[in-house]
Amino acid sequence: MEQAIDIILLGFLVVVAIAVVKQRDLFASVILFGIYSLLSAAIFVSLDAVDVAFTEAAVGAGISSILILSTLALTSRNEKPSSHSVFLPLMVVLVTGATLVFGTLDMPAFADPEAPVHKHVAPRYIQDSYQEVGMPNIVTSVLASYRGYDTMGEVVVIFTAGVAVLLLLSSVRHKEDELSNLTDLKHHPILLNVAQILIPIILLFALYVQFHGDYGPGGGFQAGVIFAAGFILYAMIIGIDEIRKTFTPKYLHWLSVTGVVLYIGVGIVTLLLGGEFLNYNVLAEEKLTGQHWGIFLVELGVGITVTATMLSLFLSFSEVRRTP
């Protein structure tokens, strides 16, 4: 039964992927990409990887659709017809695809218990992480403690990507704002009321996701994205000017740096206290308390950086004047 669900979902995924490629209307492509992410999230749920599914749903289907749509407001809606011949790209795709398929021949079968991935470090994570890190959610222990280096890299990647987009956009920025074309429903009573009810709940949920990540699915990445989504909803329906006044660009830039600095700072403090970089055991007398503090601070850093970066991307997209 579960296999049937997997096959159906994967089939949908292929259909949506083909539809995205065939689609010339970029707006429809963005929506199809959202569907694609939601389907991947469903596949992750059926693989019992709820943390990944949560991230995929929040980032892929949620915030990235919003960001790409606000990019689309700056460019044209339809894809330009290609003037190149299709032969070379087709060859490249075929060769790459053939290599990838050839590569899968060596891979262990799906869900093979003897596969290297289940033999290497995974048994230790599953058996010892509760004694070593003390988190009921193994994914959080792996993400923030065992593989703290990787997560630090991810935060720095998000930060760098945000800086790169801001640098690109700053060359076309105009003084006067005009995002009024994004929605003329701004002060509509139904939307306004629903948004006023929902936005506090969304922000509360983001806090829950941020601080409940030790016990259930969630963590800094998802919480940051949900936070940003709540503020973006506010900007789109209630008023972007209030958001601009609260989150000035300077403030947002400081925030996104703060998150990264908090993360790396925890690592430096552990170094100064005589442990390895990002070894949280030394943060407190008790080993597990140290781990708790370390993971709490690191996740907070992730959340702050993600929120600030997403929000500043949205705000700077909406600041750029529409190109004629």
Partner: protein
């Protein structure tokens, strides 16, 4: 006996929800104009979500999962009518006609 009754009512609700969802999906594809399609999608969102979540909460019994499911339902009842309304209202404001817009859609 009671458990069996709960189980079968849960199955009935789930199947009914899925069937209605399928019908509304068909309506979404087959209805002639934009507004009736939006209507089909909006009704599906509220009614099918309710049926499926009631079915699931019967399966889970009364615990934290049920409360979470009902919170999801309330969230859906807030958001999906609003989004259908926003779609229809935006279409209407941007001058999208009610009749014979199949040619207009192709633009």
């Amino acid at each position: 006996m009671w458990e069996l009754f709960i189980l079968y009512s849960s199955y009935t609700l789930l199947l009914l929800g899925s069937f209605l969802s399928l019908t509304f999906g068909l309506g979404l594809l087959r209805f002639p104009d934009f507004y009736s399609r939006t209507h089909a999608a909006g009704v599906a969102d509220t009614l099918c979500a309710a049926l499926i979540i009631f079915g699931l909460s019967l399966q889970s019994g009364f615990n934290l999962v049920t409360i979470k499911l009902f919170l999801i339902l309330i969230f859906l009842w807030f958001t999906s009518p609003t989004s259908s309304f926003t779609l229809a209202s935006t279409a209407y404001r941007s001058g999208y006609g009610i009749k014979n817009n199949s040619s207009k859609r192709a633009e």
